[in-house]
């Protein structure tokens, strides 16, 4: 443990040293990505800017973290106690899991003022991972323990009190650990949408035009540091409270399928629950606006949005804009997803044959996985410019690291006996890979695909919004600027719908593959 940490430290230190030396001796390097000392220097000279920006983001993230996680834990307890509630909320859960949060920012900015849009977005972003981890923690317990409770006449509430809640604690902490950096990302994406004065997102937006590499990278590193501080804090708490680091990281990286309760329902009840699950997101959309008494001019409900897209004179024009934007965005997201997954799978498989590669990549991947994707924007901009290739690179980067971590864990779980069987018959490592490990880890490929597909779309849209000025991301950004409320809502709705469809498609393919 200590040794591994020392190695990582030495590794990082030598990278920084190399970067500094290269930057000092070569103009080409210094002009593109500055040098570590230049970045440090601008932290010093621009401290009066950094401090309020960081504090603003931190405040939004912290409030959002608190609200979102409280709701997540309460929801998970309700879902565990009353599975029908979970079945009814399945549509809402999938939407919250699959939505690209950047599209929600402008919508929230229309409804709320001040810091609230950022806080709300941070809350929405942390909800799903914490809820999923908590629900699994509450459910995945020794069934014998429930029998013991029953044998003394205890019911579901007693089981919750004495067994489930405490059993779930490690999973809840793992969820919070994952949620901490996400809340920072949510707050920053919210700042893009609301256009507030202070916050790291606003700072980045304002600095993109100056093309000062030291400043851009400085903001990226600051965002990363804030996010990782949150992660480290909860990692420390779980070490303190649980005594040991329990390997439950996977628990917080679940997709809705993996938490879905599959009860024994009759056909009619299942059909009714399906209808409720599909309708509930739209009912909530309509109901929340009604309850909050927000004018339908700035906040159209589902029916008004449908009308805007199909039944008014300008509908054809609106649809044409959206279709044109989608035609730019979706192929790039798909390409990024495919490249990212393929690279992650290939490298995860390679690390099985060459374990030394794994020990070099894993720490970096773990760090980059917690890094808010916003922090990648400066680096991608400086290295690749603002064209289409940049957008794909962004999507690949966003997809690769979480997919790699998940697939590497999948490969690590291949039963040793199965692998040794091939070796006993004289099979080589690569033969064993083809015969045993790859088929075994293929199921994790689907899990990874479901997890990262929404991120691919988010990565592309962030790049479009900030850099390339094309596609759906740009459409939302410009509509926001033009106060074209109908388009903001329609674009957000369609983005979420597409994410959900992509998610369901991967799930369907997975089910087909399982059946064979």
């Amino acid at each position: 443990m200590m040794r591994a940490r020392l190695n990582t430290f030495l590794y990082l230190f030598s990278v920084l040293l190399l970067w500094e030396l290269a930057g000092r001796s070569l103009h080409a390097v210094r002009d593109v990505i500055a040098t570590p000392s230049m970045i440090l220097a601008q932290y010093w000279t621009a401290a009066d800017l950094y401090v309020p920006h960081i504090l603003a983001t931190l405040r939004s993230a912290a409030f959002g973290f608190l609200i979102g996680n409280s709701i997540a834990v309460i929801a998970a307890i309700l879902f565990c106690r009353f599975p029908v509630v979970e079945n009814s909320f399945r549509g809402v859960n999938i939407a919250l899991f699959a939505m690209p949060p950047i599209v929600i920012g402008p919508v929230l900015a229309i409804i709320f003022n001040g810091d609230l849009p950022q806080i709300m977005l941070a809350a929405l972003v942390v909800y799903f991972p914490t809820m999923a981890a908590t629900l699994l923690g509450l459910r995945e317990i020794d069934p014998r323990l429930l029998d013991v409770i029953s044998a003394y006449g205890g019911g579901s509430n007693t089981a919750l009190r004495f067994v489930r809640l405490r059993s779930a604690l490690p999973a809840i902490l793992a969820g919070l650990r994952t949620a901490a950096p996400l809340s920072v990302l949510g707050a920053i994406l919210g700042e893009f949408g609301s256009g507030v004065r202070w916050g790291l997102g606003s700072f980045l937006l304002g600095s993109l035009g100056d093309s000062d590499p030291a400043r851009l990278l400085g903001i990226g590193f600051a965002a990363t540091a804030v996010a990782m501080a949150g992660y480290a804090f909860f990692a420390w708490i779980s070490r303190m409270t649980l005594g040991a680091t329990v390997a439950v990281t996977i628990a917080a990286n679940r997709s809705p399928d993996q938490i879905a309760f599959t009860g024994k329902y009759s056909w009619s009840k299942r059909a009714a629950l399906f209808v409720v699950a599909v309708a509930l997101p739209f009912i909530l959309w309509w109901g929340i606006l009604r309850v909050a008494r927000i004018s339908s001019i700035i906040a159209p409900g589902p029916m008004e949005t449908l009308r805007y897209l199909f039944f008014v004179p300008d509908s054809a024009d609106a649809r044409a804009q959206i279709v044109a934007a989608l035609a730019q965005t979706l192929p790039l997201a798909g390409l990024g997803l495919l490249f990212g997954l393929a690279a992650a799978f290939a490298i995860a498989a390679l690390t099985l044959v060459r374990p030394a590669v794994a020990s070099a990549i894993m720490p970096v991947a773990m760090i980059l996985q917690t890094m808010p994707l916003i922090a990648l924007v400066p680096l991608v901009l400086l290295l690749f410019g603002r064209d289409t290739a940049t957008t794909v690179v962004m999507a690949v980067l966003v997809v690769f690291f979480p997919a790699y971590v998940m697939l590497a864990q999948g490969f690590a779980l291949v039963p040793r006996a199965a692998r040794e069987l091939v070796q006993v018959y004289g099979g080589s490592r690569s033969r064993e890979l083809v015969l045993v490990s790859v088929p075994y880890a293929a199921s994790y490929l689907f899990a990874a695909a479901k997890l990262v597909a929404p991120r691919a779309l988010l990565g592309v849209m962030v790049a479009e919004w900030l850099l390339s000025g094309r596609g759906l991301g740009n459409l939302l950004n410009t509509s926001r600027g033009l106060l074209d409320y109908d388009m903001v809502w329609a674009g957000a709705g369609i983005s979420i719908l597409i994410s959900v469809i992509a998610y369901e498609t991967i799930s369907a393919v997975e089910r087909l593959a399982r059946r064979n």
Binding site: D142, R144, L145, D147, V148, I149, S150, A151, Y152, G153, G154, T158, F162, V163, R166
Partner: protein
């Protein structure tokens, strides 16, 4: 020899009465008749072992007695009460193959769990809890966590927990199934010692012939497809039964008889 050691119990008094109970499990592809019209009476203060091949429904039968499953047909009565009414008074103790301890609780607090579930004040039972920990030979480990104990010690905790409420019916579902043969024999003798100290009506599921013959007053032989009782054999050895019994020729004769009963029922 139910009457010999259950001397204070009125003869012929059935603590447990299972009346033509049937249970079917349906999965998507098939239907399994786990139990088909099973009738069994267990006298107060006797030790009954259920033995049979896997799938014969012996665990299901035990779960029906504990009220963890409901019978499709027939009735299960514990002292003329339903399992649900019976267990809500803390009259039932249960232990499984898996000790099923709460890993975050010390031995003492694990043993205290039944009182909490029953809604009683743990503070009033401190002495009882410590007595039980002493009875299963874990004095000095009361504040240890399950993770710090060996497999056999954890199983002792589970047995202490099963006995702590002073139940009138003890259900054991392969309690030593996960232990190795040597430890298992030690635990068998331990269990007998504990049981003689307070002979409560006990039903134990096992797939070990010599465990059944060593511990029980009566061995109920079951078979699968459908799950049913095929034979009931009385064990005549006087208690306390010592470790030398495992080597005695009459013990081996009895084990052979049990094996034959299992075999002939399987051949049928």
């Amino acid at each position: 020899m139910v009457d010999e050691q259950g001397s204070d119990a009125a003869p012929g008094l059935a603590d447990l009465s299972i009346e033509s109970v049937s249970k079917t499990f349906r999965t998507r592809s098939q239907t399994v008749r786990a139990l088909s019209s099973v009738t069994l009476k267990v006298q107060r203060g006797s030790f009954v072992a259920l033995i049979g091949p896997s799938g014969c429904g012996k665990s299901t039968l035990l779960r029906l007695v504990a009220g963890l499953e409901e019978p499709e047909q027939g009735a299960v009565l514990l002292r003329n009460e339903t399992p649900h009414a019976f267990r809500a008074r803390g009259e039932l103790g249960i232990a499984f193959q898996d000790p099923a301890l709460l890993p975050w609780r010390t031995v003492r607090r694990n043993v205290a769990l039944p009182f909490q579930v029953l809604g009683r004040k743990v503070s009033e039972y401190r002495r009882r809890i410590d007595e039980l920990i002493e009875l299963v030979g874990l004095t000095g480990y009361a504040d240890a966590l399950p993770g710090q104990l060996s497999g056999g010690m954890r199983q002792r905790v589970a047995i202490a927990r099963a006995l702590v409420t002073n139940p009138s019916m003890l259900l054991l579902d392969e309690p030593f199934g996960a232990l190795d043969q040597i430890l298992r024999r030690t635990m068998n003798q331990e269990l007998q010692r504990i049981w003689i100290a307070s002979p409560i009506t006990t039903v134990m599921v096992t797939h070990s012939i010599d465990e059944a013959a060593f511990l029980a007053d009566q061995v109920v032989v079951m078979n699968a497809e459908p799950g049913r009782i095929v034979d009931t054999i009385s064990i005549p050895f006087p208690r306390p039964r010592g470790p030398t019994l495992f080597a005695a020729p009459e013990f081996h004769d009895l084990c052979d008889r049990l094996a034959a009963a299992l075999d002939s029922s399987a051949a049928r």
